[in-house]
């Protein structure tokens, strides 16, 4: 009795259901029977997801830090005219005090120094008014 010639594809043919597309079509049963040592989790995959979660937290932290910095920067920008005005107030008063001392020291030029002191206090008052005007808005 002549025996059937061996299949050219050998063992692989057992797993194939279609002879027309041998490369991609397989029998699910064959794959099912070919599984060995099945496990419910893969440590490498779990680690991979851990890395992703870690990166996500890092990016969210970075976003939050940037947002905080932006808020601070915006606040600083908003406050900068007031800070300058406050500096002008101090400077104005310092000029006023300086001029008063100068007027006391040089009685002949007292009128001149009084005038400069007046200008200094005027500037300080204007800056102060700006600050108060700004804070009541």
């Amino acid at each position: 009795m002549a025996s059937e010639p061996p299949s050219p594809g050998g063992e692989r043919d057992i797993a194939l259901t279609s002879v027309t597309d041998r490369v991609i079509i397989t029998d699910r049963d064959a794959a099912r029977h070919a599984t060995a040592g099945k496990e419910g989790a893969d440590p490498e995959l779990t680690r991979n997801f851990g890395q992703a979660v870690h990166l996500q937290h890092q990016l969210d932290d970075k976003k939050e830090t940037n947002r905080y910095k932006e808020v601070r920067y915006d606040k600083l920008i908003e406050l900068s005219p007031v800070i300058i005005a406050a500096f002008v107030v101090i400077l104005g008063f310092a000029v006023f005090i300086g001029c008063m001392f100068a007027a006391l020291g040089h009685e002949t030029q007292a009128e001149y120094w009084a005038k400069q002191g007046e200008r200094g206090i005027g500037t300080a008052v204007a800056a102060l008014a700006y600050i108060f005007g700004k804070s009541t808005k």
């Binding site: 797993a15 079509i25 397989t26 599984t35 419910g40 490498e44 995959l45 992703a52 979660v53």
Partner: protein, 169 residues
């Protein structure tokens, strides 16, 4: 029987189903873990070695015990995509996936790309793992494609493909 019911892949349906699933599962941040989603759907995921002629199998959906088998030897982003791909079959083509016409997923997918169901399952997987609403959140933040791939726990080629499709990058 099922081959003639679908001539061209329905990308919109794949996208809709993936989005619906993510909404139902309340997924709001990356990475999207398809194992968790599978578990919610009652599908068990097994990592196994494939021997002999099936050693090149990436994974398959086993309708008998409603499980997805993934090749243990593949690298994690590939496994993730395989699980999402098989979930796509479960969600989009359940009748076919339960039939004898179902095909397992091979590592060399060149031939399978032609099959509308495989293309749909791939589209589903891409939309599930890299949904537009999550991608939008990170795209303008100066993150490199490589970091995006890590963030979404997918391979760099998969991420590049998605970035190209969504944003033309």
């Amino acid at each position: 029987m099922f081959g003639n019911t679908l001539d061209r892949p329905d990308y919109r349906r794949a996208e809709r189903e993936a989005e619906r699933l993510l909404r139902d599962m309340d997924v709001t941040v990356p990475p999207v873990n398809p194992i968790t989603i599978a578990a919610e759907l009652g599908v068990k995921v097994w990592f196994a070695n494939f021997t002999g002629t099936s050693s090149n199998v990436s994974g398959f959906y086993d309708c008998k015990d409603n499980s997805i088998y993934v090749n243990k030897d593949e690298y994690p982003p590939r496994q993730t995509f395989t699980i999402a791909h098989e979930l796509g079959h479960k969600m989009l083509h359940e009748e076919w996936a339960n039939s004898g016409e179902y095909k397992v997923l091979w590592r060399d997918v060149a031939g399978q790309e032609q099959d509308a169901k495989e293309v749909e399952a791939n589209a589903f997987a891409a939309n599930l793992l890299m949904p537009k609403f999550l991608m939008d959140r990170y795209i303008d933040r100066g993150i490199s494609p490589s970091q995006m791939a890590t963030l979404f726990a997918v391979s760099l080629p998969a991420m590049r493909n998605r970035l190209s499709k969504l944003y033309g990058l």
